[in-house]
């Protein structure tokens, strides 16, 4: 966030804009009535006008870099501006007076500095003063009713527009910190340091700190950035003595400025509102404190060493606090999703290892025990040993394929995934003495590793079911993409899942379980001689919200 010179001079400086506007209007006013011959009667009052110009310039100089005086003098200056307006209405020629300049100034000041209520109140007072002035001069020969009505109409319309401005000005955000969220993705740095950096850039602060505690534990930790160096911080004491959205502080002059509920300024001492020892630990002398709340924590953002600090920073601070909370919540959410996905992957892999390797080894051990018993009885064991050897070699291939898929550091194209399924189908053909044919559509899609492992396992289980339960001799597999999902259709010529010999119908539980875990769906159509299993798996994480 970079600022041009003029932008930098007036950004977050409403007090400065008002003071400068007042001084320039006063100078222009003097110039305009000096050039206007119809205002000749006013010339004896030039001394008073010059005094007002001097007052306006002095105020601008006094409040230019002093947020405390700017806040302190805001209300008295406002009343003085209205008094000046009244004096000008009375002392100038009503027909040609440029008093409109001084009507606009207090109205705009109220709209910029406060809100619509103060703007409406200012407008009402100014219009009443104008009417009173008009009534007083109505008996003089120079009064023109038509001009008076037109000017009154101008005042009312202008007031209404500025009241509207005052209302909507409240909803204008000074800082759109949430825009920064988009740049957060993929960053590895500490989220606290990142959020603090965003706040420091937005407020043009050279130093800053952000700290959090939980309601139960009186310990606050966070980070501090001074001269670009990031360091950890920890304190046992809360920074603020009461809950406040934001405040400005000046430790050397023992000044603290915050706002009340209705938006009025509250002037206090640093000691009353802030634990100055904590500020001293941070090294902050003059700056801004704002409250930051996230879903689980609350704390403060402290910014200091700003080039330009003004009362506008009270509003800016509140916005920064909200944005910081939103950014941290968002970051926590993204991290939680990532951790949850990693945990899900770990659990899934653990389940696969348990369901395949551990169970296989247990089964192999049972078979070895059986062979030993047969051998002890003098029986023939060679065929059993051959079978065991075959199973071990098959399992070795399965484990190698499994590990190879895990080692891959990228997603597969659909064509590569289909090729791997074809290789698996050839192994399954030998294992189950069945014809197994895999066909892939020429769809374009990326298949995540997890999904590829699921696909392979589903094919193994589908083939095992078809042969074991249905006595199938031919299995056709079709793989493609439908919408955003992968579609695996397995068709066999077995007897299917229908009840046989009075037994309860078999169901593809293992398939169902795996499909459910992958948030997919399974459709089964079974009749003697033809069984169709259609499985749909989302290509992205299809976890329900």
């Amino acid at each position: 966030m970079k600022f041009s010179g003029a932008q930098s001079l007036f950004k977050y400086q409403r007090g400065r804009v008002i003071a400068l506007g007042r001084a320039m209007l006063a100078l222009l006013f003097i110039l305009s009535i000096w050039l206007d011959s119809s205002q000749a009667a006013l010339k004896p009052s030039y001394g008073l006008l010059l005094f007002y110009v001097a007052y306006a310039l002095a105020l601008a100089a006094l409040t230019w870099r002093n947020w405390w005086f700017d806040a302190r003098l805001a209300v008295p200056m406002h009343f003085l501006d209205m008094v000046a307006f009244t004096a000008i209405v009375f002392s100038t020629n009503p027909d040609t007076s440029p008093f409109f300049l001084f009507f606009i100034l207090p109205l705009l000041s109220a709209a910029i500095r406060w809100g619509w209520r103060e703007t409406a109140l200012t407008a009402a007072v100014l219009i009443l003063l104008y009417l009173a002035g008009a009534l007083l001069v109505s008996h003089s020969g120079g009064f023109e009713m038509q001009r008076f009505v037109i000017r009154s109409g101008h005042l009312v319309i202008l007031s209404a527009v500025l009241i509207w401005f005052g209302i909507h000005q409240q909803f204008t955000r000074l800082f759109f910190g949430v825009d920064e969220l988009e740049h957060r993705f993929g960053r590895d740095e500490d989220p606290l340091a990142y959020v603090l950096g965003v706040a420091m850039r937005a407020s043009r602060s050279r130093s800053g700190a952000i700290m959090f505690g939980s309601p139960e534990v009186p310990r606050f930790t966070g980070v501090r950035i001074v001269d670009g160096a990031v360091s950890q911080l920890a304190t046992d004491r809360p920074l603020l003595r009461e809950a406040l959205p934001s405040l400005l502080f000046d430790v050397q002059r023992n000044r603290a400025l915050t706002t009340r509920t209705q938006g009025w300024y509250r002037f206090d001492t640093v000691e009353t509102l802030i634990d100055s020892d904590v500020l001293a630990e941070l090294g902050a002398i003059e700056g801004l404190v704002t409250e930051v709340r996230t879903g689980t924590r609350q704390g403060w953002l402290v910014l200091w060493d700003m080039s330009e600090l003004s009362v506008d920073f009270l509003d800016l601070g509140t916005e920064l606090g909200r944005a910081a909370g939103a950014m941290l919540d968002h970051d926590a959410l993204v991290s939680a999703i990532g951790e949850s996905a990693a945990a899900g992957m770990r659990l899934s892999l653990a389940r696969d290892v348990h369901d395949s390797i551990v169970q296989f080894l247990a089964g192999a051990a049972f078979r070895v025990e059986a062979v030993m018993r047969v051998s002890r009885g003098g029986g023939e064991v060679e065929s059993d040993l051959k079978e065991l050897k075959r199973l071990l070699i098959e399992e070795q291939s399965e484990i190698r394929a499994f590990v190879s898929a895990l080692r891959r550091d990228r997603e597969l194209d659909l064509a590569e995934a289909v090729d791997e399924l074809k290789t698996l189908a050839r192994r399954l053909e030998q294992q189950w003495s069945v014809d197994c044919h895999v066909d892939g559509h020429e769809d374009r899609a990326s298949v995540p590793i997890r999904l590829q492992l699921d696909l392979q396992q589903l094919l193994r289980e589908a083939v095992a079911n078809a042969v074991r339960h249905g006595g199938a001799s031919r299995i056709d597999v079709d793989v493609g993409v439908v919408d955003d999902s992968l579609r695996l259709a397995v068709k066999d010529n077995g007897t299917g899942f229908a009840p046989r010999n009075g037994r309860s119908p078999a169901e593809p539980w293992s398939l169902k379980e795996r499909v459910d875990r992958a948030h997919g769906s399974l459709f089964l159509q079974s009749e003697p001689g033809c069984t169709n299993v259609v499985i749909t798996l989302p290509l992205t994480n299809g976890a329900p919200a």
């Binding site: 139960e216 247990a362 089964g363 025990e369 059993d384």
Partner: protein
Amino acid sequence: MTRVLLADDHPMIAAALDVLLRGTDYELIGRARSGSETLAEVARLKPDLLLLDVNMPDGSGLEVLAELRKRTRAPAIVLLTAGMDDSQLLTADRLGPEGMVLKTSDPALLLECMDQVRKGERWADPEMAERTRHAKERAASAPSLTPRERELVELVRQGLRNRDIAAQLGVTEGTVKVYLHAIFDKLGVDNRTELAMRGPQLLG
């Protein structure tokens, strides 16, 4: 001959047991692959002995065990499992199967277990017996929270703030903090997030 029904969804185990029981006094009369299928097959085949895996789809082995314990005529049951966590071990211990064998133990133990169970005795794999004993000890030494503290843990798990918890329990926010500190100390957690996440595990 003792008629045996195997309830296990893993084909390798089924095939291996078929070979293992060949030439013994046990006859493998059927196989079920899910919890519901097991109950149906028990009713249909009326086996003398049920070899029951714990982790099965559509009704776990422990659910099948609990259901069969309600029946007057049920087979002797041997739990055959690749592993159980504390909670499953304690449930199994409470339901009291006639036998418990780990699939990863020496396969000879399975036959020894089946022989003992056939004689009407109970038999547990030494490793499982040891694990069960440890699980019981851990359960006994689990921190004892008062009903009020347990209620508070539940409210924290629901994501309520102290103010809302205080309103719900009819106490002050300060009292809630005191309760929370006591719970943190008892359970050895540092903050409410950890409490919310680990609460069920810590409370057992």
